[in-house]
């Protein structure tokens, strides 16, 4: 009733509207869409370019197609009548508003198109000599689909008045303006397409999209990519990255990939050319879905692990394993060799798994994990130094473990079998892991931001790769036969290998010094001395227990002697001091007397207990001290002082950029071997320092020896997992170039000269 009433009321209004409406054709029903040709002008002026629009009002659930229909479908087109008075050159192509995704069959068939309402604008040049109305007549041909597809045709017709004065057509004008507002603007920025294994990474850096969030999608103009595939996205401060899947495995990497990138409501038309992934277009590799090429990464990791065996810090540890294997092979005990191989592998792989767990844990706790972070902890470094020192002593023959010697208890020898092999593996992994950087920098960089299972897979693969040579050896008697015969050379080789271990310890000591100060380093050296003493004393306690005890007591006696001297030499004699020193001397004398009267066995026992205590103290005290080690003098400032330059900060960079000075930034760390090599071979050489001076280059240092969230964030911004990273800002440029991890003098001076 109400509806009818309203309609009746509206009738006069409708009649009025019809009366005053501009001369325009009524929409034509093509079947499932009302089609209409509209113009923004009621009267156009000769010589002007007028926007026309082909308007579709589409039945619910039906859709028509975008310029690229996707997997199925065809975009609409106008077939102009032969009688058309305007040359077809005067009629521009359709401008295509941003399409919708039409997942016809999820994950299999994806189309791009429009539903409900769309206007496709196109420009028409009205010729200079146009007079009177021009008739635009033709047929709109379009495929329209719901579950089924129907090619429909609708006759379209527009009589465009031409006159001396422009008169807008409000109906057509509104439709066209709205449609033009939906046409994606051209990109104001950069777009690059990068082959990333089997997928392509489309990175787009532009203020038009930076900071936007929402559904992101790339609509391709062509069929290079698989339309139905997911496009995992990652957002960065400069823009975004999309992982695209090539249409076929045989699809050639395109010279140019054009289309529309949308983020939420925002859209940009892009043409991406091949190039490196644009910086700042991801949040550090965390794609919303796994997009790395896992198999390739796993294989890379395995190869990297294999190469680790050759690292100078790992080789000595491995020699331990090798010796055991040579002996086992010589004895023909295949089962023992195999058991060793398996236990060793278990040790390596478990350590790498633990490392993966640590990475995931640190990342969960701090949001950022960088490769080598474990060397930022004084505790870990201290423990490593002492362990490596111990290994050095062992290699040197200071003490023996295992079956090759009989004077150590039989129980220990048995334990050496599986446990020894296992811990060799652990050790090899611990010492080896920091060395992975140079070989696996890029691969590690991608893995650091990946979900936990991937981190585990890749690191375990690395462990497997590292263990592989020994595993293979222990299972292949034919290979074992190639090993040299055991003999006296083994002992010599073993002792030679002690020295790389000491050097490794020295390097770690310098890391520790930078981390926690020279006091901590001295503490560790003292601990090392205690350990050495403990081991020596243990070894000598059998016969010389009494002598050792007396010598130690004698040495300790020096303390009260000095105290006594100090107390006596003071200007006014300090009575309490003298009495205490004398008492102590008495106690020492009694102790020495008691020890001298002990039986050899008892003295040996006490000496052994003392030696073990010294050993334990040597190991534990520095580690305990490291726990409370203060972050000492240093950081970027101290490091910069060494360089005679200034410390990095983002603020300083923007200042220098504003000044128009070129900037070279060295992201470095004490524990980073590559950084040190670059420092020595390039950055501190005369040509480079002279070039920097001549070019007025600001040389900034960011020291990552200790954790620093600012530096970590900057590393991540440039997709680096750790140091070294070298940034070069050409004069006045606010976007840095990321330089290779290994520098050369030519490269750096070349930059300065070019800049």
């Amino acid at each position: 009733m109400t509806v009818a009433f309203r309609f009746v009321c509206l009738l006069p209004v409708l009649a009025m509207a019809a009366l005053f409406a501009p001369a325009k054709a009524q929409p034509v029903d093509g079947g499932h869409a009302r089609v209409e040709l509209v113009s923004e002008r009621a009267i156009a002026v000769p010589g002007e370019t007028v926007w026309f629009g082909l308007s579709f009002e589409i039945d619910p659930n039906w859709h028509i197609y975008w310029l690229n229909a996707g997997d199925a479908g065809i975009p609409p087109a106008i077939l102009w009548a032969d009688s058309l008075a305007v040359s077809e050159d005067a009629i521009g192509p359709f401008q295509w508003p941003v399409p919708e995704l039409l997942p016809i069959v999820p994950n299999e068939i994806m189309d791009y198109g429009y539903s409900d309402r769309v206007v496709l604008p196109f420009a028409v040049e009205i010729s200079e000599d146009a007079q009177g109305p021009i008739l635009f007549e033709g047929i709109a041909d379009y495929l329209i689909c719901e579950n089924i597809c129907i090619p429909e045709s609708a006759p379209i017709r527009l009589l465009q008045s031409v006159g001396a004065e422009q008169v807008p057509d409000s109906y057509g004008g509104d439709l066209i303006i709205e449609a033009l507002g939906q046409i994606p603007p051209e990109l104001d920025g950069a777009a690059a397409l990068t082959q990333s294994g089997e997928t392509w990474t489309l990175s787009v850096a532009t203020p038009q999209l930076a900071g936007r969030t929402g559904e992101a999608r790339f609509f391709p103009n062509d069929h290079d990519i698989k339309h139905a595939a997911d496009q995992p996205v990652s957002f960065g401060p400069e823009g975004l990255q999309l992982e695209l899947t090539p249409a076929r495995s045989t699809t050639a990497f395109p010279e140019m990939l054009s289309g529309v990138v949308t983020v939420g409501e925002a859209a940009v038309a892009i043409s991406a050319t091949p190039g490196a992934i644009l910086p700042g277009t991801s949040d550090g590799g965390t794609l919303s879905a796994p997009a790395i090429n896992l198999p390739v990464l796993i294989i890379l990791a395995m190869i990297g692990g294999l190469i680790l065996n050759l690292m100078p810090c790992v080789l000595p540890v491995l020699s331990i394993k090798a010796m055991g294997l040579v002996s086992a092979a010589a004895s023909g005990n295949g089962r023992e060799a195999r058991a060793h191989g398996l236990w060793y592998t278990a040790g390596v792989v478990l350590s790498f798994a633990a490392l993966a767990a640590a990475i995931v844990g640190v990342r969960a706790a701090t949001g950022i994990a960088t490769w080598g972070f474990w060397l930022q902890d004084p505790l870990v470094v201290t423990a490593l130094i002492l362990i490596i020192f111990l290994i050095g002593l062992w290699l040197l023959g200071m003490f023996e473990l295992g079956s090759s010697v009989q004077n150590v208890g039989g129980s220990l020898a048995q334990k050496q079998g599986p446990a020894g092999a296992f811990f060799t593996g652990v050790l090899a992994a611990i010492v080896g892991a920091p060395c992975t950087g140079p070989f696996l920098g890029a691969a590690i960089g991608t893995i650091m931001g990946q979900p936990a299972p991937q981190v585990f897979l890749v690191l375990i693969a690395m462990g497997l790769g590292m263990a592989l040579p020994f595993l293979a050896l222990s299972f292949m008697p034919s290979l074992q036969r190639l090993l040299p015969k055991p003999g006296a050379w083994m002992e010599t080789l073993k002792q030679v290998f002690a020295f790389p271990m000491f050097l490794t310890a020295a390097w770690l000591l310098s890391v520790l010094g930078a981390l926690a100060g020279y006091r901590m380093a001295a503490m560790v050296v003292a601990g090392a001395a205690l350990i050495a003493f403990g081991i020596w004393a243990l070894k000598s306690a059998g016969q010389g227990g009494r002598a050792i005890l007396i010598a130690v007591l004698g040495l300790i006696t020096i303390i009260p002697v000095f105290e006594l001297m100090g107390a006596l030499s003071a200007t006014d004699t300090h009575f309490v001091g003298v009495v205490r020193a004398l008492a102590q001397l008495l106690v020492m004398a009694i102790a020495i007397w008691v020890v001298a009267r002990l039986s050899t066995e008892r003295a040996g026992l006490i000496a052994r207990i003392g030696a073990v205590l010294a050993l334990v103290a040597g190991l534990v005290l520095p580690v305990v001290q490291a726990r409370s080690a203060l972050a000492v003098e240093g950081g970027s400032e101290a490091y910069a002082a060494v360089y005679q330059t200034e410390a990095w900060s983002p603020e300083r960079v923007s200042e220098l950029v504003a000044e128009g000075r070129p900037i070279f930034i060295d992201f470095t760390a004490e524990w980073c071997a590559t950084c040190q090599a670059n420092k020595l071979q390039t950055l501190q050489t005369k040509p480079v320092t002279e070039a920097f001076e001549a070019g007025n280059v600001a040389f900034l240092v960011a020291d990552y020896t200790r954790p620093d969230p600012l530096i970590a964030a900057e590393l991540q911004k440039h997709n680096r997992a750790g140091v070294p990273m070298y940034l070069w800002y050409p004069p006045g440029d606010s976007e840095p170039q990321v330089l290779p991890e290994v520098l050369s003098i030519d490269l750096v001076t070349g930059l300065v000269e070019a800049g």
Binding site: D141, I148, C149, P151, R248, N293
Partner: protein, 217 residues
């Protein structure tokens, strides 16, 4: 001693196999699950396919012969385009194929209730009605064959060489429209591929984006 060594080798081989299997399964696991029905690849197997006449056929049984797969849906305007008079494009291609000892298989992957779904009798009636003469019309209402080949549209064409390798995959011809008039102007990719295969030459255009209605899985 010899047997001992053999056992060791066996163990080593076992370990190697385990590593390879693990790596392989990881690769398989992470790789795209879609099979690749692409030119240069072996055609996915078709076994125990039910035809409109109630027979069951396999792709294997045609080995040695060139096979054409045509995804079809009688309601689709793009399919109609190529069956329409006066051009009768598909009918001509089918009869030419049968003369050249080429096996033409029409495949209907429409799901029950969707456009194009028919039973055997229905398919026979459609073929009779439009004068189509494929060697067989395969009924694939579950869409398994269509998905194995990644068929996207009707029509979507595949040419498989006698040795089972896919020689062509994609559109029927070069003009992506539903208009019969365009057929004369267009380059027929399938005919070109069949000519090349017959001549023992590589197919020049082996892969195109198909056009048509979506397959009604």
């Amino acid at each position: 001693m010899v047997s001992f060594t053999r056992r060791n080798l066996g163990l080593a081989a076992g370990m190697a196999t385990a590593v390879v299997l693990t790596a392989g399964s990881m690769i398989m696991f992470s790789a795209d699950a879609t099979p690749l029905a692409e030119p240069g690849q072996m055609a996915p197997a078709i076994t125990d396919a039910v035809t409109s006449t109630g027979e069951t056929i396999s792709l294997d049984q045609f080995s040695g012969k060139t096979v054409v797969l045509e995804w079809t849906n009688d309601g689709c305007p793009f399919v109609k385009k190529h069956y329409a008079e006066p051009v009768v494009n598909f009918q001509t291609m089918q009869s030419d194929a049968s003369e050249d000892d080429i096996v033409w298989l029409s495949v209907i992957s429409s799901a029950p209730g969707k456009q194009g779904y028919v039973d055997g009798a229905g398919a026979e009636a459609i073929n009779a009605g439009r004068g189509a003469a494929p060697a067989y019309t395969i009924l694939d209402p579950a869409g398994d064959i269509g998905r194995a080949y990644g068929a996207k549209t009707t029509p979507h064409m595949f040419v498989i060489k006698g040795d089972g390798e896919i020689a062509y995959a994609g559109a029927i011809d070069s003009i992506r429209s539903a208009k019969v008039d365009d057929i004369a102007e267009a380059t027929n990719y399938v005919t070109a591929a069949l000519d090349s295969v017959a001549a023992g030459e590589p197919v020049e255009i082996a892969s195109t984006a198909p056009y048509g209605c979506s397959v009604k899985y």
